[in-house]
C-alpha cells in the first residue's frame, strides 16, 4: 500500500492504480466520464482534473488528470483546489454546449451520470447561446434506442462495443464538433452485448428501447435483488416494476460474475413476464380444449385429493427454483420425482456436478485472467452468453504480461492496447460449427462432437502419459492436439471451457482429463468451466431426480414449470399423458404442456417470486420478488404446500415462509444445507428495519391505488425476505445478496455501484453474494476418464444432425418477449455447401428432414463452417419438435 495525501489528509491506497480509481475507492466524489472501472483510463474527457503538488511546501501545484496519473507514494493532491474546481466546471460547461437539455423527455433523466456530474461540478447556468449541432438518429434494432444529440463524446460506447465486446458494426464517425457514434447505416446492432451501451453511456444517447414502451423513471420503480433466469451463468440483476408491470432489467454488480455487463438475452428477455400468454387463474379441464376457472382453494384441494390418494409422480424443472423443485419432490416422494430434462442431459449434469466436487469452477473474473484457453464443444456466446464476454478478455492476458518491462500499467487502456497491437494470447476453439469467438482464436477446428472429444483426449494424452491414448487420430488432429497442449502447459492460468450443448459425456470427460493432466503437472491454477443450459440445471440435478424416461404409470402427473414437449419427443409425451391420467401443470406461461393439463395452477414468474438458483459454478444465489404475484397467482411451492396441507401432509403444512421450506430442505438433504446462507433469512433486520425495495423518491404511493380506495393500503406483506414493498426501511447498505438497486447521494446513475464496493471493481461491501454448494472433496484429483470414443463412422445417405444454438430463440422464456422474438431465427436446416451440392440443394429451398421415420420440412441454409457429413437445426425453437440431438437423419428435397 502507498500513502497519498488528499487535501492534506493521509490515505492508504493501492500503489498499482491511478489517482481516480483510488479517490473513488476512498469515497471521494471526483467527477469523470470516459474512465470506466472495467474499461480503464484513456484521458479523453478531462473531467477528473485534480491538483498535484510537488511536496508539502508546494502551494501552486499543477493540474493533472486523475485517471491518467499513477499513484506515487507520498503524492499530495487536492480535489478541492479552486483551480481544479474551476477547470472541472469549465469542462462540463464545454460538454453541455451541444447537449439538448431534454432531460424531461430523456429516458436517462433521473439516473444520468451527466446530470450528476453537472450538479457535482456546480455548472448551473448556461452561457453558450449559439446553435447546437444536431444529428440524425439511427434505428439500431428493437433493443437499443439512439439519440445522438445528447452525446458528450466520451468514447465509452465505442470502446466497450469494439474493444471490450469485439463488435465491428459500430464506430465513431467524423471529426471536430461533428463526432457521431453509430453504425455505417441503420440496422440491428449485431453484438450480443449491445444492451450494455445503455449503462456504459453516461447520458441518454443509448437507452433501453424495450423500457421506452412502458417507461418509468428510476425513482418510481420498485426493485429487487435478482438472478437471471435465462441461462446457467447466474448474472445478478436488478429488475424494476411499477403498476404490476415488469419495466426493465439493469445490471446488478457482482464481482465474480457479471461485474458491470449483461448479455442482451438477460437484459431484454424479461418481457415474458408481461406476456399475453401469462397464466393468471387456476383452471380445470372439463373437455378437450374447454376449461373452467377455479378459485385458489378448490384448486389446491383438487390437487390435495390426488396427493392423498397417493399415485402421483412429479417432474421437476431446470428453470424452477431449488425450493419449488424440493416442494414437488417432497409432495410426490423422492422415488417419484423425475428430472424435467432429457436423460442424456441429466447424466451430463450429474457428471458436471461430480467434476465440480473435484475442483471448483472458475468465476467469470477468473476466466478473464486466463492466459491460455481451449473451448471444447461449446458455442458459449449462444449458450452461456455472459461467459463469452469474459473469455474475450482472456486473449489480452499474455500481451498485458508483456507490458511490465514497458512500465505501462494495465489500466492505461489505450497505451496497453497500442503496445499489444493485434497480439493475442493462445485461444483455441474446437466446436461443431463457427462461434462468435472465432475472431479471437489462434485456431478453430470444426468437427462432430465425438471427434472433438477425441481431440480433447489427445490433448490430455500429450500433457500426461498416463491419460488414455487416442487410437487412429489423423496426423493433422494429433498436431493440433500438440499445439493446444503446448499452449496450455506453458500458461500460468490455463482454462478449459466445455458444456452441455453437444450433449456429449465424452466431451466433458475429455475436458476433465485435460484439466486433471494440467493439475498433475502442478499447474495449480488450471481451471475447467462447464456451461450448463439453464438457470437452475445444477440445482435440479442436486435434488437427485430420477431419469425422465422412467416417469410412467402413475394416476397423476405434476409438471413443475416445464414444457415436456421441449424435453422429449411428442410421441413419448403423448403416450405419457395418454388415457385417464391426470396432468397438473404449474407454470407462469401457456405452452403445449399446460394446454393438455387437467389442472393448471398459475405460478409466479421469477420476478414475482423468491427462490434459489444454482449456477454453473454450483453457486446458490437467492433471487427476490420485484413485486408480489398478482391476483390468485402464487409461488409454485405455495401451491404445492397448499395441496400437501389439503392432503394432511405434516411436513409441509406448516410452511409459512421460504425459510420454513429451506429449513426442511436442509434437514432432509444435509448436503444442500449451505443454501441457507445464500442470503440472510426473512427475519434479518438492519437497525430493526426492513430493506426498502423502493427508492426514497418513489412517488405517488398515496395516490397509486386511489381509484380503488382513498386511504393508502399498507404495503403487501413479505414473509419470505427481509425486504419491504415500500420506500420505508433502513437506508444503509444491506448485505450484497439483499441489495435491490444502486443509488447513493449525488450518484443517481448506474455509476453509483462505486459507492457500494469495498474497492472500485472489487467485492461489494460485506462480500460477494452466493454460496458454493459443491465444495471440492479434501482428496483431490480423481482418475482419468478412459472411455475414448471411436472415430466417427459416417453413414451412407445419412447426416449427423447437430443442435445449433441461438442466443435469441433457443431459450424458451425470453422468446415470449417481443423484442427477443423479433431477433429469433426462423426454423432452418443447415448444411455445408459441399453437402448441399451433393444433394443438388440450394439455399432457401425446402428440404425434408427425416428423423425417427417422420419428415419435417425446413428451409435450407448454407453454413460453410459445418463439418462434412453433419447437418444442423436451431436448438430449442418452438416451431421445431423436441429432438434428442445429435442424431442420424436423412435429408431429401422437400415439397412446395
Amino acid at each position: 500500500m502507498a500513502t497519498i495525501y488528499v487535501d492534506d489528509r493521509p490515505c492508504r491506497v493501492d500503489p498499482q492504480q491511478n489517482l481516480l480509481h483510488v479517490c473513488l475507492s476512498l469515497g471521494f466524489n471526483l467527477p469523470y466520464f470516459c474512465w470506466h472501472p472495467a474499461l480503464g483510463s484513456v484521458g479523453a474527457c478531462r473531467q477528473c482534473a485534480v491538483k498535484l503538488f510537488r511536496d508539502a511546501h508546494d502551494r501552486r501545484g499543477k493540474l493533472v488528470m486523475a485517471c491518467m496519473t499513477p499513484v506515487a507514494d507520498g503524492a499530495r493532491i487536492s480535489l478541492a483546489d479552486p483551480d481544479a474546481l474551476a477547470f472541472r466546471a469549465g469542462i462540463i460547461e464545454g460538454m453541455m454546449h451541444n447537449h439538448p437539455h431534454d432531460c424531461p423527455v430523456c429516458d436517462e433523466g433521473g439516473e444520468c451520470h451527466l446530470q450528476d456530474m453537472t450538479v457535482m461540478t456546480g455548472h448551473d447556468y448556461r452561457r453558450y447561446s449559439f446553435p447546437k449541432r444536431t444529428f440524425r438518429n439511427q434505428y439500431l434494432g428493437p433493443l437499443v434506442n439512439h439519440e445522438m444529440n445528447r452525446c458528450i463524446q466520451c468514447y465509452r460506447c465505442v470502446r466497450f462495443y469494439r474493444e471490450y465486446a469485439g463488435g465491428r458494426d459500430f464506430n465513431v464517425f467524423g471529426i471536430r464538433n461533428l463526432v457521431y457514434f453509430g453504425r455505417y447505416q441503420d440496422g440491428v446492432l449485431e453484438n450480443e452485448f449491445a444492451g450494455n451501451l445503455d449503462e456504459v453511456c453516461p447520458t441518454g444517447v443509448f437507452t433501453d428501447a424495450t423500457h421506452k414502451r412502458h417507461y418509468t423513471r428510476k425513482w418510481d420503480l420498485q426493485f429487487a435483488p435478482s438472478i437471471c433466469i435465462h441461462c446457467g451463468v447466474g448474472c445478478n440483476l436488478s429488475p424494476g416494476e411499477r403498476y404490476g408491470l415488469l419495466r426493465r432489467i439493469v445490471n446488478r454488480y457482482h464481482q465474480d460474475l457479471n461485474s458491470y455487463f449483461l448479455c442482451d438475452r438477460g437484459r431484454y428477455g424479461y418481457e415474458f413476464v408481461n406476456s399475453e400468454s401469462r397464466l393468471r387463474q387456476a383452471r380445470l379441464g372439463i373437455a378437450a380444449g374447454k376449461w373452467q376457472s377455479l378459485a385458489a382453494q378448490p384448486a389446491a384441494a383438487w390437487l390435495g385429493k390426488l396427493l392423498a390418494a397417493g399415485d402421483v409422480i412429479g417432474i421437476g424443472s431446470p428453470r424452477a427454483s431449488l425450493e419449488a423443485n424440493y416442494a414437488l419432490r417432497l409432495a410426490v416422494g423422492p422415488r417419484r420425482f423425475f428430472a424435467g430434462v432429457s436423460d442424456v442431459e441429466l447424466r451430463l449434469l450429474r457428471l458436471a456436478a461430480d467434476l465440480l466436487r473435484r475442483q471448483p469452477a472458475p468465476t467469470l473474473r477468473e476466466m478473464e485472467s486466463a492466459d491460455a484457453v481451449l473451448v471444447l464443444g461449446e458455442d458459449v456466446t449462444n449458450t452461456a452468453p455472459r461467459m463469452a464476454l469474459s473469455l474475450r478478455q482472456a486473449v489480452r492476458q499474455q500481451p498485458l504480461a508483456e507490458l511490465e518491462p514497458l512500465k505501462i500499467p494495465v489500466w492505461l487502456d489505450h497505451a496497453a492496447r497500442e503496445a499489444a497491437q493485434e497480439r493475442r494470447g493462445p485461444f483455441y476453439i474446437a466446436t461443431p460449427a463457427a462461434t462468435r469467438l472465432d475472431d479471437i482464436a489462434a485456431e478453430t477446428w470444426h468437427a462432430a462432437p465425438g471427434e472433438l472429444a477425441r481431440l480433447g483426449f489427445a490433448v490430455a494424452r500429450v500433457l500426461d502419459e498416463s491419460a488414455p491414448a487416442v487410437a487412429d487420430l489423423p496426423p493433422p488432429v494429433q498436431a493440433l492436439a500438440g499445439r493446444i497442449a503446448a499452449a496450455l502447459s506453458s500458461a500460468r492460468r490455463p482454462l478449459v471451457v466445455s458444456g452441455l450443448a453437444c450433449r456429449s459425456a465424452a466431451l466433458l470427460e475429455a475436458s476433465a482429463n485435460i484439466a486433471l493432466a494440467l493439475r498433475r503437472s502442478r499447474q495449480d491454477h488450471a481451471r475447467l468451466a462447464i456451461a450448463v443450459p439453464e438457470a437452475n440445471s445444477l440445482g435440479l440435478a442436486l435434488l437427485d431426480p430420477r431419469p425422465l424416461s422412467e416417469a410412467a404409470g402413475a394416476e397423476a402427473l405434476i409438471v413443475l414449470e416445464n414444457d415436456l414437449y421441449r424435453r422429449a419427443s411428442a410421441s413419448w409425451v403423448d403416450e405419457l399423458l395418454a388415457g385417464e391420467r391426470r396432468l397438473i401443470a404449474l407454470d407462469c406461461l401457456e405452452h403445449p404442456t399446460t394446454r393438455r393439463a387437467s389442472l393448471v395452477l398459475p405460478a409466479a414468474a421469477w420476478s414475482e417470486d423468491e427462490g434459489t438458483f444454482v449456477n454453473y459454478e454450483g453457486r446458490a444465489q437467492r433471487y427476490f420478488a420485484a413485486c408480489p404475484p398478482p391476483g390468485e397467482i402464487q409461488s409454485s411451492w405455495r401451491w404445492l404446500r397448499d395441496a400437501m396441507r389439503e392432503a394432511g401432509r405434516e411436513a409441509a403444512a406448516g410452511w409459512q415462509s421460504l425459510d420454513d421450506l429451506l429449513a426442511g430442505l436442509a434437514r432432509d438433504l444435509p448436503a444442500l444445507a449451505p443454501v441457507l446462507n445464500a442470503a440472510p433469512p426473512a427475519d434479518f433486520r438492519m437497525a430493526g428495519a426492513r430493506i426498502p425495495r423502493q427508492p426514497h423518491r418513489y412517488s405517488g404511493r398515496t395516490a397509486i391505488l386511489a381509484n380503488l380506495d382513498v386511504s393508502e393500503p399498507p404495503p403487501p406483506p413479505d414473509p419470505d425476505s427481509p425486504l419491504a414493498y415500500s420506500m420505508e426501511g433502513n437506508p444503509d447498505q444491506p448485505p450484497a445478496a439483499l441489495l435491490p438497486f444502486a443509488w447513493a447521494p449525488g450518484w443517481n446513475s448506474y455509476q453509483a455501484w462505486n459507492k457500494f464496493q469495498e474497492e472500485i471493481y472489487g467485492p461489494l461491501r460485506g462480500g460477494n453474494p452466493g454460496v458454493l454448494l459443491l465444495a471440492p472433496e479434501p482428496r483431490p484429483a480423481g482418475d482419468f476418464f478412459r472411455n475414448v470414443p471411436p472415430p466417427l463412422a459416417g453413414r451412407d445417405g445419412e447426416w449427423l444432425l447437430l443442435p445449433l444454438y441461438h442466443i435469441f430463440g433457443s431459450e424458451m422464456l425470453s422468446r415470449y418477449a417481443p423484442a427477443i422474438r423479433q431477433l429469433s431465427p426462423a426454423p432452418y436446416l443447415a448444411l455445408s455447401a459441399a453437402d448441399a451440392g451433393s444433394l443438388g440443394l440450394h439455399a432457401g429451398e425446402n428440404v425434408a428432414l427425416w428423423l425417427d421415420g417422420r419428415a419435417i420440412t425446413l428451409s435450407l441454409k448454407i453454413r460453410p463452417d459445418l463439418p462434412p457429413g453433419c447437418a444442423g437445426v436451431p436448438a430449442g425453437l418452438e416451431a421445431l419438435p423436441a429432438l434428442e440431438l445429435p442424431a442420424w437423419s436423412r435429408i431429401e428435397r422437400g415439397h412446395g
Binding site: R168, D169, N171, V172, G174, I175, R183, Y184, Q421
Partner: protein, 154 residues
C-alpha cells in the same frame, strides 16, 4: 468495382504495414485521386479488399477532412478559417467567393467547377489569409487577388 490499376496500387501499399487494414488511408487516397471522391460503392470495395467492415472504413474516411465522401467539383478550394487568417480577414475572401461563385462551405458550383471547403491551417500564417486550390497554395490574398487566382482554374 475497383479498377485493376487501383487494386494493384493498393496491393502495393499493403506489405508496407504489419496489418492489411493499416493500408486503408492509402487505399482511400488512391481511389480518390482517380475518382475525385469516395462513393459508397468505392467504400464497399475497399473495405472488402482490406477485410474491414464498412463501419470501420467509414470511421477512418469521415475522420479525414481531405477524404471526400461527397462528390466535389473539378477544383477544390480549401479556405483557411483558422485563427491567423480569421484575424486578418479570411471572411472577406469567403464573402467574395460566395458572391462570385454562389457557394459557401461544403457547396459546389452548378457547373461543378469549384467546391469550397474550410480548412484549419495551411501552415502559412505569415502570409495570411491563405487558401489552397487543388495542390497550389495562394498567399496574402485580397478579393482582387483572389479574383485573378480563380481565373486560372477552368
Amino acid at each position: 468495382m475497383l479498377s485493376a490499376d487501383e487494386r494493384r496500387e493498393i496491393e502495393a501499399e499493403i506489405p508496407r504495414y504489419p496489418q492489411r487494414q493499416a493500408a486503408c488511408i492509402d487505399a482511400l487516397k488512391i481511389v480518390q485521386r482517380r475518382r475525385g471522391w469516395i462513393s459508397d460503392e468505392s467504400l464497399r470495395d475497399i473495405a472488402e479488399l482490406l477485410g474491414m467492415t464498412l463501419d470501420e472504413l467509414d470511421a477512418v474516411a469521415t475522420f479525414y477532412n481531405l477524404i471526400y465522401r461527397h462528390p466535389v467539383g473539378r477544383h477544390v478550394i480549401l479556405l483557411c478559417n483558422s485563427v491567423s487568417c480569421w484575424i486578418v480577414g479570411y471572411s472577406r475572401l469567403r464573402e467574395h467567393l460566395r458572391r462570385r461563385l454562389g457557394i459557401d462551405f461544403g457547396e459546389t458550383t452548378p457547373d461543378r467547377r469549384f467546391t469550397l471547403l474550410p480548412i484549419v491551417c495551411l501552415g502559412a500564417c505569415d502570409h495570411a489569409p491563405v487558401l489552397m486550390i487543388d495542390q497550389d497554395l495562394h498567399r496574402d490574398l485580397d478579393p482582387a487577388g483572389l479574383e485573378r487566382v480563380l481565373e486560372s482554374y477552368r
